[in-house]
């Protein structure tokens, strides 16, 4: 196969643009780290400080002393992990049903789900608290996990994937061969969208990890805190000790970065492999 060689080498300006984009992505996180290693005074002076200082361990130590940080990391891990897995499972099952199975009320139900994405949830906090309270779940982790499992966006996303990735002929052929619905799902459909489910789980994990408002309302015992609540305790409402606050924020982001390093490649690759063919 002959190919024209004209387009083979990448223009320099492509690298420049991409480099600029990457810089923009990393800079705020880098700056967070810089502030986490100096202190408030130097962080707010001009010309701005862009080199890390030596204060990291001192501030990090303060973080661990002031708030139950390790415990909160574990809590966040449990909550975010459960939500990630749960969303992947629930939304894959339901997404498959909405995309490939036919049943009465399918379109209406799906429309209801999509419409709920359009309503702001800030006021729903109170009825949600009422329900959680009557279940006796106040100040527990399941109060965070169970409501977090039903992601309307997750359904939307998985249904989209199932619809565009898996053709009906494939499933019909399987059916002709005598497969049950479960076999079709588990043996054929799900493996094809596994990357998408994986990505959904990961996004669910990240969102749950970074959530503050609902956990703040529901969790009150210091040993139940998630990591976002713990680092909020480092911030005074009248005066922000920037060094301490940024140190807390940075420490709370490190687990995600670690996860990202290990999983990021396959996550990115996952989006690449399975998406939107045809």
């Amino acid at each position: 196969m002959t190919r024209p060689t004209r387009r083979r080498h990448v223009r320099r300006r492509t690298y420049a643009l991409l480099g600029l984009a990457a810089l923009a992505c990393w800079f705020p996180l880098y700056w967070m780290f810089v502030v986490a290693t100096t202190d408030t005074a130097r962080a707010t002076q001009l010309p701005p400080e862009i080199k890390p200082g030596g204060n990291f361990f001192h501030l990090a130590g303060l973080v661990f002393d002031t708030v139950p940080f390790v415990r909160s990391l574990i809590n966040s891990l449990i909550v975010a992990g459960s939500i990630g897995v749960g969303q992947a499972v629930l939304c894959s099952l339901a997404g498959f049903a909405f995309a490939k199975l036919h049943f009465r009320g399918r379109n209406a139900l799906f429309l209801v789900v999509v419409l709920t994405m359009t309503v702001p949830t800030q006021l729903a906090v109170i009825p949600q608290y009422m329900i959680i309270s009557s279940l006796g779940w106040v100040d527990t982790l399941q109060a965070l996990i169970v409501p977090g499992l039903a992601s309307a966006f997750g359904i939307f996303w998985m249904r989209q994937y199932f619809t565009t990735t898996i053709s009906d002929e494939l499933l019909q052929a399987a059916r002709i061969d005598g497969a049950s619905t479960w076999q079709i799902f588990w043996r054929i459909a799900f493996p094809l969208v596994r990357p998408a489910a994986f990505v959904l789980g990961l996004f669910g994990f990240v969102t749950a990890w970074n959530d503050f408002l609902w956990p703040f309302i529901v969790l009150k015992s210091p040993d139940m805190y998630t990591v976002q609540i713990a680092i909020k305790a480092l911030q005074n409402q009248y005066a922000v000790d920037l060094g301490l606050a940024m140190s807390g924020s940075f420490l709370a982001t490190i687990p995600l970065l670690v996860l990202f390093v290990f999983v990021g490649r396959s996550m990115v690759a996952g989006i690449m492999d399975g998406a939107f063919k045809g």
Binding site: I78, G86, W182, S221, Y238
Partner: protein, 443 residues
């Protein structure tokens, strides 16, 4: 465009259908149950906090007040009592969590409510325990009248016990004053501005000498403090709204505009990022500072230790802030919560907290106590903070604070800030403020 090919062998041995479907159901249930079980297991370490035996207290507080110190001291004296303290978030966020809890279900035993958030709760007294039933009548007299009256509902129920007040003074930079040729001794500085007009004049002198702004902003440091210095604010003594007719309010508002026009403001809104950042480098030389703000200055500008001092505020008297301890109606351990309040908020308790954390007591009986009067703050050139702030309280003429006072004050401040930022017209600012207040509170 089929990119996936289908191989019959994928299925292997076709299994009986019945088992498959049942298997599926079991699998789903297992996954769901596992998720919940995992979560439940993780929660097993959470002991049931409020068991109703009055041996434990669930206490919600917010950052910046340092209730933790008092809680720890109390626990040392009462080892049988377990206090679960939540000290996260701002006063506004804690009030929102409290609202949700009161509306929805499980409430704490004890909650700290900031003065600005209090009126809305006092209007709905059925949500809190009437502390008179636990003995508040006996101790009511310990507190400043006008402070505790804010937590008394319309039928006389006492809903909260005041923990602290702010008082009011002016924190100023001695080094910057020296550079501008202004006096630096706090008594001399106090004499420099007995009135707000004199304050603005001093500001103009400062700006002329140094070319830098004098005060952090006009809305908070000038208007908000001046409006607190009359016997009547937004409501008259009978509780009617008079914000649009009260001469004091108009005078204070005009003072704010005058300060803007004099060009002495640094235009930094209180607690904003630039405000915090500007403290150290001396972007402004004075800030109206209640007692709790001293800690903010300490945190924001640690390098300026010893370069600050505290002088009396123009007008002499003032107050900003203050919080209250309340017990929600359905608390499981109200008696234990009240015991905590009675002990820690007694005159002795509040004095001890002042010495430890700088929180100004609301119990006038300790104002002349040697522990209070002798306290000097080295960050602020050894100023006797106890005396200065309590003096500012004693000169205060009590005015009626109603449920919408906070919203009204906010709109007036907004109008002045708008002019300060160069976006509003000073001639129409008053009318704009009135219009916005009407829209906000409907009256």
């Amino acid at each position: 465009m089929l990119t996936i090919s289908f191989h019959p062998e994928t299925f292997g041995d076709p299994e009986p259908y019945g088992r498959n479907t049942v298997k599926f159901r079991i699998a789903t249930s297992v996954v769901l149950a596992a998720t919940l079980a995992l979560a439940a297991a993780a929660c097993s370490s959470n002991d049931n906090a409020s068991t109703g035996d009055n041996k434990s207290i669930e206490f919600w507080s917010f950052t910046g007040i340092n209730q933790k110190a008092q809680v720890d001291d109390y626990k040392k004296l009462h080892p049988g009592i377990d206090i679960k303290l939540t000290e996260v978030g701002s006063s506004v966020e804690t009030a929102q969590a409290l609202t949700t809890a009161l509306a929805g279900g499980k409430v704490p035993d004890l909650v700290l409510i900031q003065g600005d958030d209090l009126p809305k709760f006092v209007q709905q007294p059925q949500n809190f325990v009437d502390l008179r039933t636990l003995g508040a009548d006996k101790v009511k007299g310990d507190y400043l009248d006008w402070v505790i009256s804010q937590s008394i509902a319309k039928d006389g129920q006492i809903l909260g016990v005041p923990t602290d007040v702010g008082g009011m003074a002016v924190a100023y930079r001695t080094d910057l004053f020296a550079k501008a040729g202004l006096p630096t001794d706090r008594d001399a500085v106090g004499k420099l501005w007995p009135t707000w007009d004199a304050f603005i004049e001093a500001g103009k002198k400062y700006v002329a000498a140094t070319g830098k702004p004098f005060v952090d902003n006009a809305a908070t440091s000038v208007f908000y403090q001046a409006v607190n210095q009359g016997p009547e604010k937004y409501y008259d003594t009978a509780g009617n709204l008079v914000y649009d007719q009260s001469p004091q309010v108009k005078t204070a508002f005009d003072l704010g505009l005058k300060a803007v026009a004099a060009g002495i403001s640094a235009k930094q809104s209180s607690f904003a990022t630039g405000w915090s950042a500007g403290m150290g480098p001396g972007q402004f030389a004075v800030v109206a500072a209640p007692s709790w703000m001293l800690n903010a200055i300490r945190t924001n500008a640690p390098g300026t230790k010893g370069k600050w001092d505290i002088a009396t505020i123009p007008g002499g008297a003032g107050n900003w802030g203050g919080s209250y301890l309340a017990i929600p109606k359905n608390a499981k351990n109200p008696k234990a919560a009240w015991d905590y309040i009675a002990e820690t908020q007694s005159p002795k308790g509040q004095l001890a907290h002042f010495v430890a954390s700088g929180s100004l007591p609301t119990t006038p009986s300790v104002y002349k106590d040697a522990q209070l009067t002798s306290l000097k703050d080295p960050f602020f050139s050894d100023a006797p903070t106890g005396t200065i702030y309590t003096d500012s309280l004693l000169g205060l003429k009590p005015f009626y604070i109603g449920p919408d006072s906070s919203a009204i004050g906010q709109e007036f401040q907004n109008a002045i800030t708008n002019v300060e930022q160069g976006k509003g017209d000073p001639a129409t600012a008053w009318d704009t403020a009135l219009k916005n207040i009407k829209a906000a509170i409907g009256k």
